[in-house]
Symmetry: C2
Subunit: 310 residues, 2 copies
């Protein structure tokens, strides 16, 4: 037998994003290192506030994350602020991360009409994409279904997405818990409709799916108001807000009770404030990784306990 692989063979050769992330989380735990080159951090580190400063910062954060975290997440706006030079820096750090074998998420929070956002598959997902990443983040204001075309392209290329659902900021509560008057999720909240649409993609995938949600760790009682039960979601859940934004281990235990190892907790400044010294950065990354792993194990165990008592 000779010749190039068929489309279905080629697809089978690419491992799904959910499978790869699951393996990495089993290995390194639930920490995702947020790589957000804020101007203040660059200044604190003694780096230039420009594209090259952002690139040097990112490389050092990557080194600290390597072998200590399941994934890294790049805040795209912190690169875009320097225009094409910043995007070129992001291209290079994404390339470095791929060489290290680290799972990459680009937090670009894109959204819009299917005809326009499908262009992003060329940027992020397809073989040879300039900003090739394992996953990107999406904003569903145009409706969760407006993202389907781009999500299909991600899945076809073994990539994934995280769709914003219940975010950790108080200004989002009124919008995200609004009740739908029409459509398939009539009578349910905005956030619930998004989570359910995401779950449908994951229903067909064994194990952890490749279509994730963003659910903030600081949302407290909104989780009940939203109608979403994170323990029923089988894709990955990206959770910002730990540390800097005020969420603590207790919040993780409350919000993610009963989840089964699919919560990825993003920590950025809480780690970066220990830089640029690489041994301090690495030690902080390890300590925070352990704290988060413990908190999420408690969340799993608490759910098991209540199941035992029931």
């Amino acid at each position: 037998m000779s010749g190039s692989p068929t489309d279905s063979e080629r697809k089978a050769m690419r491992s799904e994003f959910g499978v790869r992330l699951r393996t990495s989380m089993d290995h390194y735990g639930p920490l995702c290192v947020g790589i957000d080159p804020h101007r203040k951090l660059l200044t604190d580190w003694g780096y230039n506030v420009d594209a090259s400063g952002a690139e040097m910062f990112s490389m050092r954060m990557l080194q600290a994350a390597n072998g200590r975290a399941a994934a890294v997440k790049f805040q795209e706006s912190m690169f875009e602020r320097y225009g094409s030079k910043g995007i070129a820096a992001l291209e290079r750090v994404l390339f470095a991360a791929r060489q290290m074998g680290i799972i990459t998420i680009v937090d670009c929070l894109h959204g819009g009409l299917p005809t326009t956002i499908s262009a992003l598959a060329d940027a992020y997902f397809k073989s040879g994409a300039p900003l090739l990443a394992d996953a990107i983040t999406l904003l569903p204001y145009y409706g969760a279904r407006s993202l389907s075309g781009l999500i299909d392209e991600a899945l076809d290329n073994g990539r994934g997405v995280f769709v914003a659902s219940l975010t950790s900021n108080p200004e989002g509560a009124s919008l995200q818990t609004a009740i739908r008057q029409k459509g398939e999720y009539r009578g349910k909240t905005v956030a619930y409709g998004i989570a359910s649409t995401a779950q449908k993609f994951n229903d067909t995938m064994p194990g952890m799916g490749s279509v994730g949600l963003i659910i903030g760790a600081t949302i407290g009682q909104w989780i009940d108001e939203s109608g979403i039960d994170p323990s029923q979601f089988t894709g990955p859940i990206l959770s910002p807000g730990y540390g800097w934004q005020g969420a603590e281990a207790d919040d993780l235990r409350t919000v993610f009770k009963g989840t089964k190892g699919n919560v990825l907790v993003t920590v950025s400044r809480f780690i970066a404030k220990n830089g640029p010294d690489i041994s301090n950065l690495s030690a902080a990354t390890e300590a925070i990784a352990l704290d988060i792993r413990q908190a999420l194990m408690d969340a799993t165990l608490e759910a098991d306990d209540s199941a035992d008592q029931a």
Copy 2:
């Protein structure tokens, strides 16, 4: 008296986005030429499907728009698909547009937490910004108030924004007409809360404000369900969907009845399909500009008539 201007003097020297757009619309009418270098269009024109093809396409569309339209709108994802090379192309066409004196809108539909999207002021609004534009588009899924910091930075620099409110895609209807259960706009729709938050920025501005909305021309009866009355909004309204997406002059007359010259209608492929011949492109731009101007004049007049009959 000598020395450099004070902050308030510097601010007074910069004309507001709303004022500049108003002047341009009075001069050239309500057409905004959408510059969306789709792969198919590049191929149809005989251009390369790459960053240089997108740049050449954009330059030709700019030439057609110059002196025939109030503004141009660039679809950022169509440049981002080529990574940093695409963004560099967008930087150059934005520069060319500034030299021509054309008002520019970058349709990037960004959103997210205030701490992260405020970085976009460096990219788009501040003096010396690599992607300096007159306005950008924003997605309010994190709540309209999450955008306030970036909007303030836009206004401080004489720039503007367009916030997605009621978009023209059917998948968005269920989310955008959901009823808020909490917050200042309790009992109102998601889209209404967004429009009202935008209007608050405009309340303090004489004439047309600088904080705009995106309201699709194809939304039909949703406009009633949303509770939004476009005729009461004093910022600019960006309306996609004319031509290619199925909206016609009648839709403009219905949805924007009673508005007073603040509706900017985006047309992209309907013009571009006439390229690359520059005289055909220019003729199409002029013809469409006239059609749209007439339809929106009718919308204004119809409201005057009903006021007379009342």
